[in-house]
């Protein structure tokens, strides 16, 4: 056989053998006894770390060193070069993985691959510090402070006690059960936390955060992901953007600063401050008052024990059943308020306002939008270019309109409440019942004045201007129009 032939055969054989790989696993097992309070430090890379605890002072390390190479001897040789370094220092016990540097290469490509998996059992009372990358970390039963960091691998922490600091990136963090505070930093990975008997702080980006049953304060800062807080308490602060925020069953005050995302707060026993933009705001069962600041948002909710203050623009506002006053300032958005146990103060423009069942005074400042109020204590309304419809008003009525009809009905069965109405280019209708008592001054131009009630006229009288009294004339009624009829109607006879 010639040399070239030999070479081709050999090369073919080698090529075939190059495609067959061998995996090799070497185990490392050691047990140490720690001093009380000695910190366990694990520094690792490329592989999972599983940590369990027990009440004893023993530290048991089991490491599985996996190597894959083109043949078994290479794999075995490389596995032998991977070191698990254990070093006891005064205050800490260090466990480190050391991989060989600059291991064999092939045409610039590395032909050996490796990973190391740890299973560690450590004293539950020993503080723990873990630094890993490209591997998951799981810790169960740690009853001391922990500082656990990994990346590109899930981080799971269960049944702990103490202050826990967890950090990850590009993978999820799950903390289930800790009697103590917890701080979690993550990037591009979801965070799920439950059952923390302490305060929780979470900072995340580009992923979702959920927190359930957090006993003390909850502070969550996130972007580009959803945030859910459930069955928690203390002081809550949630900052987010480009994602929805949901808060259900929170015992305490809750503040939400969101942007470009919805906010939903249901059953917050304390004060709720909900801010967002370009996202809906929904709320219900708020215990101690509500403040909402939003823009380009629809705002809707009910059952607030305490005052309500809402600022919005370019979105509707609907509030029901408020055990306090309601101050709503909007622009380019309709406002509906129902069942307000205090005063209702509404300001908007280019949209309608509806107020009903208001125990206190209703004050509305609108522009280019209609106003409708039913069964309210009193009504002070200013608008333009739209109608005003006020029915069952128990107290004073004061309307300043332009280019819009006014229809006002007093609820007072006997006696009187002051009525002042001004408009133009539209009619004024006033509905009275029982035995009204008014000093009437009515004037208009290009319109007629009509009264269902007998009027005792004093001074000069014309079809478009009069002064007189209805009944005893105890209250003032001033109706001023321009290019519109004025009618004083008896609602008992209609």
């Amino acid at each position: 056989m010639t040399n070239p032939t030999k070479f081709i055969l050999l090369a073919t054989l080698l090529a075939v053998s190059a495609f067959a790989r061998e995996d090799y696993t070497r185990n490392f097992d050691k047990t140490f006894t720690l001093r009380p309070g000695q910190t366990v430090l694990v520094e690792h890379k490329l592989g999972e770390i599983v940590i369990h605890t027990h009440p004893q002072l023993d530290l048991t390390i089991h490491a599985e060193i996996h190597v894959s190479a083109s043949d078994r001897s290479r794999a075995e040789q490389f596995a032998g070069q991977i070191e698990i370094l254990t070093e006891p220092f005064a205050s800490e016990f260090s466990i480190r993985t050391r991989y060989p540097e600059n291991h064999g290469s092939f045409l610039g490509f590395n032909n050996i691959s490796y990973s190391v998996r740890y299973e560690i059992t450590m004293p539950e009372s020993a503080p723990l510090e873990v630094r890993n990358s490209f591997g998951a970390v799981s810790v169960t039963g740690l009853k001391a402070n922990g500082n656990i960091r990994t990346s590109h691998g899930n981080l799971t922490f269960r049944d702990g006690k103490g202050v826990q600091r967890l950090e990850d990136s590009f993978a999820g963090v799950e903390l289930l059960g800790n009697a103590g505070d917890a701080v979690i930093d993550n990037t591009n990975g979801n965070v799920k936390v439950a059952d923390v008997a302490g305060a929780l702080t979470v900072r995340d980006r580009f992923a979702s955060v959920s927190a359930e049953r957090i006993a003390k304060d909850v502070t969550i800062t996130n972007t580009n992901g959803t945030v859910d807080v459930t069955d928690s308490g203390g002081t809550g602060i949630v900052k987010n953007s480009f994602g929805n925020v949901t808060v259900h069953n929170f015992r305490g005050d809750m503040t939400v600063h969101n942007g470009n995302g919805k906010v939903e707060a249901l059953n917050v026993t304390g004060m709720a401050e909900l801010n967002t933009s370009f996202g809906e705001v929904r709320f219900s069962d708020i215990g101690r008052g509500l403040s909402v600041r939003a823009n380009n948002s629809r705002i809707e909710g009910s059952k607030i024990k305490g005052p309500v203050k809402i600022e919005n623009s370019f979105g509707g506002v609907s509030v029901t059943d408020v055990d306090g006053g309601a101050h709503i300032q909007s622009a380019n958005g309709a406002v509906t308020v129902t069942g307000i146990h205090g005063e209702a103060n509404v300001k908007t423009s280019f949209a309608s306002v509806e107020a009903s069942e208001i125990a206190g005074a209703v004050t509305v400042v609108n522009n280019n939008g209609s106003v409708r109020a039913t069964n309210v204590r009193s009504a002070n309304v200013k608008t333009s270019f739209a109608g005003v419809d006020l029915q069952q008003v128990a107290g004073a009525i004061d309307v300043d309109n332009q280019n819009g009809a006014v229809d006002a009905g007093s609820k007072a069965q006997s006696g009187c409440q002051p009525i002042m109405i001004h408009t133009s280019f539209s009619p004024i209708r006033v509905h009275l019942s029982g035995n009204p008592s008014y000093r009437v001054t009515a004037s208009t131009s290009f319109g007629k004045i009509h009264s269902d009630f007998p009027l005792t006229v004093s001074g000069s009288m014309s079809s478009d201007s009069l002064s007189g009294t209805i009944g005893d004339g105890r209250c003032e009624m001033r109706l001023t129009d321009n290019n519109g009829a004025i009618e004083i109607l008896n609602s008992s006879s209609h």
Partner: protein, 212 residues
């Protein structure tokens, strides 16, 4: 038969085994994830299949051969030289066959190691698909670039820009680790996930923020 994780690679190549594989994957998150990743790469690669010249391939191989054969210590190691030549032949064969081989089929026959490491064949397929995937992402990046570089862009685009920078940094870090640990399944999976996320983010930049 009792289907195990190690059988997944055969199931990918043999439709008769797929029913058993599906049954197994109901309870096996690892296989489910693996299957999902292969499916996604397969779909993406099929959609984005393209061919291009590799002008640096032969010069690099020649350079490698020369480098391996020139130093005295390497000259003595004839096995290494032969292995290099054989590998070069295999690479050439793979490159020549590349355009004719349907990418999805390649993925379907990819030979994944059951546990921590890829086989040679699986690695070859992964690297091939990664190149195609990277090429498609480069194309998307090029399309998204004007939007992302616009200084008057919206806060949403600013956050996308930040996310893409972060993903690029993570991709770089993962690739640097893969350079030393090419058969490591975890690293390759992480890289595939990062590429998938980058592609998704770029697609969102191009579609979701049309108004800006």
């Amino acid at each position: 038969m009792k289907f195990e994780c190690g059988d997944l690679e055969r199931a990918l190549a043999n439709p008769d085994l797929m029913a058993d594989a599906q049954l197994h994957m109901r309870d096996c998150a690892a296989c489910r994830n693996e299957y999902r990743i292969w499916n996604e790469i397969s779909t993406a690669a099929k959609q984005l299949h393209c061919e291009w010249d590799s002008p640096d391939l032969w010069p690099n191989i020649r350079k490698g051969l020369e480098a391996q054969s020139q130093p005295p210590k390497h000259r003595a190691d004839w096995r290494l030289w032969a292995l290099t030549a054989a590998a070069a032949a295999m690479v050439l064969l793979a490159v020549l066959r590349w355009p004719q081989t349907p990418t999805d089929k390649s993925v379907a026959t990819a030979n994944l190691s059951a546990q921590d490491f890829l086989t040679d064949q699986a690695l070859k397929e992964v690297e091939k698909n990664e190149a195609a995937y990277r090429h498609s992402i480069d194309e998307l990046s090029r399309l998204a670039q004007p939007k992302l570089e616009n200084p008057a862009s919206s806060p949403l685009l600013a956050s996308y820009r930040e996310k893409l920078q972060m993903l690029d940094s993570a991709i770089l870090e993962t690739r640097s680790n893969i350079a030393q640990n090419r058969f490591n399944v975890r690293l390759q999976t992480d890289l595939a996930d990062l590429y998938r996320e980058k592609r998704q983010t770029l697609q969102e930049v191009l579609t979701r923020d049309q108004s800006n």
